[in-house]
Structures are given as structure tokens and as C-alpha cells.
Amino acid sequence: MESSGNGHIYIAIPVMALLAIVQSSILPRFPIAGVAPQLLFIVALGWGLLRGLEEGLIWAFIAGLFVDLFSLAPMGVSSLAFMAGMTPILLRRVLPPRRLLVASLMGALGTIIYLLAYTLLLQFTAFGVTISGMLELLPLILIHAVIITPVYLLLDYLLRITKPRRVEF
């Protein structure tokens, strides 16, 4: 991995730690359609859309670790599911250059893949997710498709201010 040297990857650690606290203690009190949006996943996906798949994967890996700190799931399961959810970024090149529309589409597609990967991975642990349980999580797809737009714009703004160097494998 080629390091940027300016430590922008390491920003992911405090950012995700903070978001994990928000995810655990604040968001469950304000559910939308019965579910709390997965803020850490959306931020990682938004970062990946702006900075490329490589950085998206690293942010997803770190985000997953912090999610599992506050979860029953074994450490690493969310990292794998989040990284799987980053794969739609590969489609970015073939999609029309409408950034917000593409971000929204990626949000929905990424969430579907993340949920499927997560359900599959949970089957290997003591915790399983039933089909009706999965159906209850479907609003997440729409919620993420909407929420990713402001997250994407905010990250874009922050990146333009800070101008971090790109990290590539």
C-alpha cells in the first residue's frame, strides 16, 4: 500500500469511533421506518465514492471494527460485510456522470450487498437473521439511498477544504 504520508487514512479511526457512539446511543432513539440508518457504512461508502475503492475498503474495514465493538456480532463480521458493500464503487465508471444520482444508486446497491453479506456471515455465528427479519431491514435501502446524498456532499466539501493526497494500493 502506498501511504499518503499525511495521515488522512488515520482520520478514519477517530471519525468512526465518534460515529459508532452516535450509532449506539443516539440513532436508535430516532428510528426511521423502524430502523436506524447505518451511519458508519454510509460514511465509508461516501468516502469510497469520492476517493476510490481502495480508500473505501480501508474506511469500511475500520468502520466495521467500531460497529462490532458495540454489537453482539463477533469482531470482524461487520468489516467483511461493509467491504462487500463497497463493491458497487467498481460500477462508477460505467454509470452516467451525475454524481448525486450515482451516489444515491450506490447507497441503495451497496446496502443490498452489505445486508446480504451480513446475513450470510451471521449464519456462521450463534446469531441468525430470518427472512422476515431481513424484510424489516429493507427500508434501510431507501433510507441509505437518501442519506448518502448529504453525507456525500459534506465529505466532498471537507475534502475540497483539506485536499488530502490519494491513497492507492
Binding site: A17, S24, S25, L69, S71, L72, Y118
Partner: protein, 284 residues
């Protein structure tokens, strides 16, 4: 050309490292190897989470206001006549009344079974994974909480302690798929095993003998068998019975008594009398 190939190789190695690390962590955590290390990371985070939750409580109550819109509007009119200091004091008093009501219910519950030893704990967070159901408590190993201890609210059983760090603990709700609790029905006295169905699915009691005529509305309580839970902790009520004469056992669907989304304070039952199973260990 070679540079491109090397970059490609580095890319694959990096990806393999990330995936490999995640898998390794999953395996290590599942075997309990990481408990100590993760505890060090979890403790400061849960402390911040606890602080955040305390401040969110007031906000959440304000957001819940529109359920009694008329009362809330009248209350707002009255409050507008008061000065800012009194408004703040009023909000604090409302919060305290709400908390004292919860505490009074908990004490009533504690008075019913004084033989149990309990620790009160605040709920400071929920599971960050949308598919899993757990709550985070602000009491941990230092306060005497241990893995496997039952957790109850004033309305009934909440679940079982799944993970513990020095100052926090994570409780798997009884609706989780990993949860299995020996139960007894209130009227028929039939016993069975309550299993969680996961998110969106109500828990069910399996292995109920067909000789019992289980009825909808029956109270479901812990049986105390197995020694992991005390006897007679209320779990909920039977809302459906699945009975097929061709089968050896029947099943019952249970509506839990506790509204898990609104639990704020709970008891961790640290000591209780287990059912006397000593007679089974004696030689005939």
C-alpha cells in the same frame, strides 16, 4: 509494464490482508481470545456513550411529545408564562418524575423477590448492527456483572449478559436467535424452551408436551430449570399456539412483556436460588 503488474500485485495483497484480518478477528473473537484486548478499547468508548445517552434522553422525550399533542400544547402555553429558569427546572422535574416512576416499578419488582441480589444499571446504547438486538449497560465487571447473568426490567425478563468489560456490559435480548430460556406456562404449568426468533420474529416456546391444552393469553415465566435463570421471572404472554396432532410436541408464540425499545433502567440479577436438582445426583 512491470510497475503496473507490481501495483496490481500490491493491490491484491492489500485486499487479501484486509479480508484476512477481518476473518482472523472474527475467529479470535468467537473463541474469546480477544476479550481482554477489546475490553480496553470498549471501556472508554462506552463511557463516552453513557455520557451521550444521558444528554439524548431529554431530546428523545421532546421528540416523543406529539403523541399527546393537546396536552403538550397546553403545557407549552403554561410554560411560556414562566421564565427560562423555571422552564429548565420544570423539564428537569418531568425527567425526574419519569425516572422515579421507573425506579418505583423496579423497587416494587425487587420487593416481590427480596431473596435475589440485584444491581441496577442504566441502558446506554443499542446494538450498532441493525440485524441484531442487544442493549449496552453502564455496569460491568467492576460492579459485579458476569457473563450469563439474567437481566430484568420492571415488566419482566429482558435477556442475558453476553459480554462484559470493566465498566460496561452487553445484554443479548431474549428475542435474539442465540437465546434459549427454560420456561413454564402460568395456567397449564407446561414447560418448554423459549427460543428467540431474531429481528422481526416473536420468540416461540418449543417442546411443549401435547398433553397440555395451552391457551392464548397464558402467562409465560422462567421455570428455573438448568439454573441459569431464577424461577418465575415474567417473560410475556402466549399469543398463538401451533398444535398439530400428528406431532409429538406443540409450539407457542410469545409476546414479550417488555418493550425493549423503551427500557431505560434494568436489574442485573447477580445472585438467586436455583431449583433444587440435587435429588437427581443422588444414587438410588
Amino acid at each position: 509494464m512491470n510497475v503496473g503488474r507490481t501495483q496490481q500485485r500490491i493491490r491484491w495483497i492489500s485486499l487479501a490482508l484486509l479480508v484476512g484480518s477481518a476473518i482472523l478477528l472474527t475467529i479470535l473473537d468467537s473463541t474469546g481470545t480477544l476479550t481482554g484486548v477489546l475490553g480496553i478499547v470498549r471501556d472508554p468508548l462506552t463511557y463516552i456513550s453513557s455520557w451521550t445517552t444521558e444528554r439524548t434522553d431529554t431530546l428523545a422525550e421532546v421528540a416523543a411529545g406529539p403523541r399527546n399533542l393537546n396536552a403538550a400544547l397546553k403545557e407549552i402555553e403554561a410554560l411560556q408564562l414562566e421564565n427560562n429558569a423555571l422552564r429548565k427546572e420544570n423539564a428537569q422535574l418531568i425527567e425526574e418524575v419519569s425516572e422515579s416512576r421507573i425506579i418505583r416499578d423496579l423497587f416494587d419488582r425487587a420487593a416481590e423477590t427480596p431473596q435475589y441480589r440485584r444491581i441496577t444499571a442504566n441502558v446506554i446504547g443499542s446494538d450498532t448492527n441493525p440485524a441484531l438486538q442487544s442493549i449496552l449497560l453502564d455496569k460491568g465487571f467492576d460492579a459485579g456483572v458476569r457473563v450469563g447473568m439474567p437481566v430484568e426490567a420492571s415488566q419482566g425478563l429482558v435477556g442475558q449478559v453476553y459480554r462484559v468489560t470493566n465498566n460496561a456490559s452487553m445484554v443479548a435480548l431474549l428475542t435474539e436467535t442465540a437465546s434459549a430460556i427454560p420456561v413454564r406456562l402460568g395456567t397449564t404449568r407446561a414447560t418448554g424452551m423459549l427460543r428467540g426468533g431474531g429481528r422481526g420474529v416473536l420468540p416461540t416456546i418449543d417442546w411443549i408436551d401435547m398433553q397440555y391444552e395451552v391457551e392464548v393469553g397464558e402467562l409465560v415465566m422462567t421455570s428455573g430449570l438448568g439454573g441459569k435463570f431464577p424461577e418465575n421471572l415474567i417473560i410475556g404472554r402466549v399469543i398463538d399456539v401451533e398444535r398439530n396432532e400428528a406431532e409429538l410436541f406443540q409450539r407457542a408464540v410469545v409476546q414479550p412483556a417488555v418493550d425493549f425499545s423503551s427500557v431505560e433502567i434494568v436489574f442485573v440479577v447477580t445472585e438467586f436460588e436455583t431449583s433444587n436438582t440435587g435429588i437427581f445426583s443422588e444414587e438410588p
